[in-house]
Symmetry: C2
Subunit: 436 residues, 2 copies
Amino acid sequence: MQEVKVGLIGFGTVGRGTAQVLYEQADRLKRRGGGNVYIKTIADIAMDSLPPHLQGITLTADANDILDDPEIDIVVELIGGTTLARTFILKAIENGKHVVTANKALLSQHGSEIFSAAAGKNVEIGFEASVGGGIPIIKSLKEGLVANRIESITGILNGTANYILSKMSDQGLSFHTALQEAQEKGYAEADPTYDIEGMDTAHKLVILMAMAYGMKMDLQDVTCEGISRLQPIDIDYAREMGYRLKLLAISRNHGDHVEARVHPTMVHKGHMLASINGTYNGVCFRGDMVEDILLYGHGAGMMATGSAVVADIIDISRNIMVGCINRVQSLSYLPEHVQERKVTPMAELRCPYYIRFSSLDKTKVLSRIAGALGNNGISIESVIQKSREAENAVPIVMTTYEASEEAVNKALAEIDSLDITTDRAVKIRILVEDHE
Amino acid sequence: MQEVKVGLIGFGTVGRGTAQVLYEQADRLKRRGGGNVYIKTIADIAMDSLPPHLQGITLTADANDILDDPEIDIVVELIGGTTLARTFILKAIENGKHVVTANKALLSQHGSEIFSAAAGKNVEIGFEASVGGGIPIIKSLKEGLVANRIESITGILNGTANYILSKMSDQGLSFHTALQEAQEKGYAEADPTYDIEGMDTAHKLVILMAMAYGMKMDLQDVTCEGISRLQPIDIDYAREMGYRLKLLAISRNHGDHVEARVHPTMVHKGHMLASINGTYNGVCFRGDMVEDILLYGHGAGMMATGSAVVADIIDISRNIMVGCINRVQSLSYLPEHVQERKVTPMAELRCPYYIRFSSLDKTKVLSRIAGALGNNGISIESVIQKSREAENAVPIVMTTYEASEEAVNKALAEIDSLDITTDRAVKIRILVEDHE
């Protein structure tokens, strides 16, 4: 049986997971016709030695020992970041090697360059592990749903943020307490900015949009709002109104332009995404033929992500063995059919809104708020106004029918400038369900 | 571009959907590198003419016009049943043609014969549409999860049964009223036996087990209990205890033997499967590397199933174009590694149980029931005994800790034979969650 040799750059969590999966599943992969795949070399600048069961593998601190090794067929880049990783991947491609990576930051920012280089050298880029950890999302989009125009993408793509929101929701914790707990359990990094401010989710959304729509993979104009300013009171009101609060990646395909946004979103409790809790991820694709498909599982973790990296390695290994490189397009569409698409400006977004006002307990407050909304063409769907404690500000919570972001922003600016509220209004978008 | 010619046998719902998907998505499929695929001939014994937009296609009443046509590369069998369909598929294989089918009944009963014949002629069998309609389940099992030992399969695989259970649960309808409504809406056939008695689900489970475990695809010893005898009272108690009642396909991989069963099951409301309502399907795979993965979507329907059939056609078309037939094994494992596995006898099953007794309002009833359970090694986890109306039988509802099916059956037979109950005890198995 032909051997397929892998070089692994980066022996952190996912690198270790990948090596472990390949080691533990070696026999199964052969029995499944995946070929005789093994790691020849691991490059890591911080390692002195490998675990005993990996002793047959060469350890080096110099990635060039992999990139320049003519025996190596597939380079697996797992160092992350967008500088060295980019250099390594471009050199691997230049040297005719296939590449597998989990690097969503890199692909979402330098994807066009990388895929163009790969097409020029007729090598493959596997990146299943870049979105949704072990869930076969990319393969499903590129192959299983090949006969669909993807109408929308709606996903929970960051386990850290979802864990924090689940904790806030289930236990009434503040954002900071929930974040601290996530850090203690190892679900959040010391600097959690990328996860909680939505950038990681945005990176993944860009990759999914590229596959779904056949558009260029560049991080551009994705509106990104994180969860760090969310307050438990809004999560409580959301629950009371039948919603769960989730950090969603949302894209809707309008043909010549596409929505691309990441923000906290109210999801009706009957929607499958509302049931996704803890560190789990899930993404819903709406295809014109299949309607809604949801894929769910662990979006991170050593072994789950390792499973996705190895699935890509085997995919490429099968192609090497039978000589059919790029049997499926890396970018889902043939390079000449990958198009530029405009991202819909946020001002043009239309959706229902949840709005909370901190009002002074004065007469006519509600009518003045409703008036300002009405003047901007916004219709109120429901109102909750509960306690009336003379000393404190009174929360007035509303949901609106579908309205434009521009109109809502204008109305809220007007209301905030009145002398009837104590604090700026809190605005949270509500997920529109296409199929209802 | 090389042409790939398809012959379609059977122009019913899925046949029409397949032709429609190929027609509507023709341009997209080319842009995605799927090749120049078109239907050359449609065989159907009941059709006089084709819809106007399909006029370029030859219509015949004789399937042999497809099977004997040397120009046809892929035969799509969509007539269903296990006699003519088997004959057609075997002849197509004999004539060197690739086959795509949605026929779960046929594959689950004659899969070994069909796959063996296909291996002999080096042709492919695509069957994504046989399980879960448009959801890319088979591809995910065979490729996305290639680096996993599948530990268990737990699925809602029949939309008709799930629709009926959802209606019973949400609106308190009786089984017969819910069935009638399903029939009126076209979600249940005039003879709904296969769907409601679990056979359809069992067929699909057999196919999934074959892919997941690398075992022979034969319908054997799958325990199958349907939903026709379920009563609203048990659904209500289930809800009160935090469970939803679902018709599940369940298989757990014990290595040399595997569980294989279809029956109404109490699913904890926090489990993703509990949130799957209406005609939707969903299947949860537990892999040793990825842990739990759930795939969800429409499990039936003209366009959704057509989408899966076309995905298979494109998969094979890509292989034809680049000359890499059977790049991925039809049976997921290489034929020489497909093994026989024993199915665990039901008596050896261990799970928690929900049991409802219709007891006479006599003293010591509870203690005698508890005694019989205890004598058989069964521990009670919770009890509900509500109303005490002198005239009527009093329901006593219990959940047990994990117990063996054999012990529970023995205990219930003992209790049923006592003079303290008015009716046979109702027993419903509770889903064990592996990860808790």
